[in-house]
């Protein structure tokens, strides 16, 4: 059993779960205590000891079913199939098995363990032999459906199929001495069993293939998604990306609250306490703690929602939405050629409604040609009061200005007033400054300029944001 657990832990690891050696040891000790009698208990023990994240539970359940029923079930099924094919009910089938065994004993024939297990329909023994053969045939190395034939062959060799065929053929030769009726029955049974074994080999390989495959594709998918540019997402990916952004925001929230709380916490200030209590003759009437730091971050976000960044702006807005949830003082604006404030919209409506309203032109005309210069000037004229020395200004946009006047002086002015200006550009850094991109003009007036084309980059940016 221990070997089986080690193997199972290896399997879990292959599928992306982190199972340490001490955990597999716990699993063994746990099974020792709780016993192996009940399947559900075994499952609960293994789950409690090896799976430590709720997200891994479904993977575990699938693998558990695959591993701990898999082969046994299949063997039983195949044996049942044979019984049905020979047109026998279970009792008659058992009689056949008994008859055959008596015959073998009378003839004084010593069979190999494999032949014995096969002819006695001993599912447990067969499973063990198959598993051992799988280990010897390095079945675990299979990676691809096209290798099925090769590995079936390797497994057959490891199991000793050749020798078994010889044995069974020999047996069939000896059936002549029996009465024709019984001989025919035995012959048919032997033929069937040989076929069965081939079938079992095939299923074993196919199962192994399934097992290797579980989650591999999934995992690769998620990895790829994080690196994929926002521009080229399919609809399904968009939906998954939304979940990812939400998770990111949630994580950001935790990190931020923890960091902020830590700064606010005061420790006992013994020297100040002593000093101040000297007036009472040293009796500590007044306690002092380190002063709390007051710093409520204020954020002003300007998000480009023009056609050129259509795909991106949705995520960006979602991110903005999350940010607004996070900080108490966030003002969000969207712009194309005009500027519109969406702070209220975002606080009052749930995410999807708010985003739809913002993106369908209910706040500003989103079908205009983007004009950063004009938008900035409008912002400067109408909303500059939102920016003060504690404000972080975040601009999300590609700086594609359609050859309009860039009015970079606005940004300069904003930078002078603000704590910092951050520009996140969803375009590749290589293309900045080419064509109608005015990034080069705007960049000097930003504290941080970052390319933000995919989830990983967004994550890095957030990490930097939180740090400051």
């Amino acid at each position: 059993m221990n070997e089986k657990i080690v193997e199972f832990c290896g399997l879990l690891r292959q599928n992306g779960l982190r199972v340490s050696v001490s955990e597999s040891m716990d699993a063994m000790r746990g099974l020792g205590v709780a016993g192996l009698a009940e399947r559900e208990t075994v499952r609960a023990v293994l789950r409690a000891t090896t799976v430590k994240r709720a997200v891994d539970v479904p993977t575990f359940e699938r693998l558990f079913d695959l591993y701990f029923t898999g082969m046994g079930e299949v063997i039983k099924e195949i044996t049942d199939g044979t019984r049905a094919a020979l047109d026998l009910d279970p009792a008659a089938f058992q009689r056949l098995l008994d008859d055959l065994e008596r015959f073998l004993r009378e003839q004084g024939i010593e069979l190999s363990p494999l032949a014995q297990a096969l002819l006695r329909a001993d599912a447990g023994q067969l499973e063990r032999l198959l598993r051992e053969a799988a280990a010897r045939g390095q079945l675990g190395d299979i990676q691809h459906g096209l290798q099925e034939g090769k590995f079936t062959h390797a497994l057959a060799t490891a199991l000793g199929l050749g020798a078994l065929t010889g044995e069974i053929e020999g047996l069939k030769g000896m059936l002549g001495g029996l009465d024709p009726e019984t001989g025919k029955r035995f012959g048919a049974f032997l033929d069937r069993r040989l076929q069965d074994l081939a079938e079992m080999l095939k299923s074993a390989v196919r199962q192994e293939l399934d097992r290797q495959d579980v989650d591999r594709r999934d995992r690769q998918g998620i990895q790829a998604l994080a690196e994929k540019s926002f521009f080229y997402l399919t609809e399904d990916e968009m939906r998954r990306m939304q979940e990812a952004v939400n998770k990111l925001a949630q994580r950001l929230k935790n990190v931020v609250t923890i960091r902020r709380k830590r700064a606010r916490r005061g420790r006992f200030d013994s020297s100040r306490t002593l000093r101040s209590n000297l007036q009472f003759g040293g009796v500590p009437f007044r306690m002092f703690f380190d002063r709390k730091r007051k710093d409520k971050p204020q954020v002003v976000i300007l998000c480009d929602v023009s056609d050129s960044v259509r795909n991106v702006s949705r995520f960006m807005l979602q991110f903005v939405y999350a940010l607004q949830d996070l900080y108490s003082k966030v003002r969000s604006f969207i712009f194309v050629a005009d500027v519109g404030e969406v702070t209220k919209l975002f606080t009052e409506h749930e995410a999807n409604t708010a985003l739809d309203t913002a993106l369908t032109g209910n706040v500003i005309n989103v079908y205009a040609h983007s004009d950063f210069g004009r938008a900035f000037r409008t912002f400067h004229r109408e909303h500059l009061a939102a920016v003060n020395s504690r404000t972080t200004v975040i601009v999300l946009g590609d700086a594609r200005n359609n050859y309009n006047l860039p009015h970079e002086w606005v940004l300069k002015d904003v930078q002078l007033r603000a704590k910092q200006v951050i520009w996140l550009n969803p375009e590749n850094r290589m293309t900045w400054g080419f064509g109608d991109s005015e990034m080069d003009r705007y960049a000097p007036y930003c504290t941080i300029v970052e390319e933000c084309r995919n989830l990983n980059q967004l994550y890095r940016v957030i990490d930097r944001l939180v740090a400051v």
Binding site: R18, S20, S22, E23, D26, R29, G30, V33, A34, E40, T41, R43, A44, V45, R47, A48, T49, V51, K52, R53, A54, V57, Q250, R251, N254, T257, I258, K261, R262, R264, R265, F268, S270, T273, N277, G281, G282, V283, P284, M287, E350
Partner: protein, 323 residues
């Protein structure tokens, strides 16, 4: 100590806590292997309750440490009572001058004081916090570390040390070793991923919202006198509502609150209007309530359709799955 998994389940049930076999197994394992349990799951599925019931079943004291952002060692383990120390030095001024009275030089005076400083760093001035109390407790106890995900990463690292050795070193007093290894239950709402090191040391238990029958059993147990039909209707509706995309899903405690509220209103069967009016017991956001009301409407129409044509109803019931 429990004799078997079934014993755990039976004992918990006698304390009015209905467990699944999974939970029973994990609890049994934890008591046998003396390992901490890390319980995860959505809010309100009875994670904290599990620890309380465990303490009751074992007949141990429950010591609870509620985690929050910024919880640190002094708050969790022990603290010297500065104020008391300072106060004592003041009150004992005369005594102290007596001790150093004959000293000729400053160095000598300091030396004399130093020989007496044990007095000020003794148990008397030590303020034990939950962790230290669990370790020094004379009787075996259950230590509940609640909402560990709210604490900082540093605190988690510090906790690791305690959980592996069950000993604490107080520099002024020496090392304190636990007389009984406490049974530890950690709960987490998954606001933050716990470190692998911590997870490795614990048995992991994920408690989800219970299945229908399970929840029905809980309602019947906890709300005595409830109508069979009402209980079943309440649970069915709750299960439906949980499938909706809500800000906050109704927890078991809210199911119980609702059942109690309905019982108080002397209701025997849940009708549409009544459900609509009392939804605020189970849902805590306006938007959620609106969604649930819509769902309730659909549900009623579905039931009407069912009554009219049983065959047509089975076709529409696929809609369930889509939620």
């Amino acid at each position: 100590m429990f004799a078997s998994v079934d014993d755990v389940i039976a004992q918990f049930e006698s304390l009015q806590y209905i467990t699944s076999r999974t939970i029973g197994t994990v609890v049994y394992l934890a008591t046998q292997l003396q390992k901490p349990i890390l319980v995860e799951g959505p809010a309100g599925v009875g994670k904290t309750e599990l620890a309380k019931v465990l303490a009751k079943a074992l007949g141990h004291d429950l010591i609870r440490l509620q985690c929050y952002e910024g919880l640190d060692e002094p708050k969790a383990l022990y603290e010297w009572e500065y104020a008391k120390q300072l106060l004592y030095t003041q009150i004992l001024k005369d005594k102290i001058s007596e001790v150093i009275g004959a000293a000729r030089s400053l160095t000598e005076a300091v030396d004399r004081i130093a020989t007496e400083d044990d007095v000020f760093f003794s148990d008397r001035f030590l303020l034990p916090r939950p962790l230290l109390r669990a370790i020094t407790s004379a009787k075996p106890c259950v230590l509940l570390i609640d909402e560990i995900d709210k604490s900082d990463a540093e605190f988690e690292a510090f906790l690791l040390e305690i959980l592996s050795d069950f000993q604490v070193s107080v520099p002024e007093l020496g090392t304190l070793v636990a007389r009984h290894v406490p049974m530890v239950v950690l709960t987490s709402n998954n606001a933050r991923e716990m470190s692998d090191a911590l997870k490795r040391r614990c048995l992991h238990l994920y408690i989800d919202f219970p299945e229908r029958n399970h929840e029905l059993a809980i309602v019947k147990l906890k709300v005595p006198g409830i109508d069979e039909q009402l209980a079943s209707e309440v649970v069915s509706l709750i299960q439906r509502v949980r499938k909706l995309d809500l800000k906050k899903h109704p927890s078991i405690s809210e199911t119980l609150d609702w059942a109690r509220a309905l019982l108080l209103l002397n209701v025997h069967s849940l009708d549409h209007d009544l459900a609509n009016e009392t939804l605020s017991v189970i849902l805590k956001y306006e938007a959620d309530i609106r969604k649930a009301q819509q769902e309730l409407k659909d549900f009623r129409e579905l039931q009407r359709a069912k009554q009219k044509t049983p065959a047509a109803a089975s076709a529409t019931s696929d809609k369930d799955v889509l939620h």
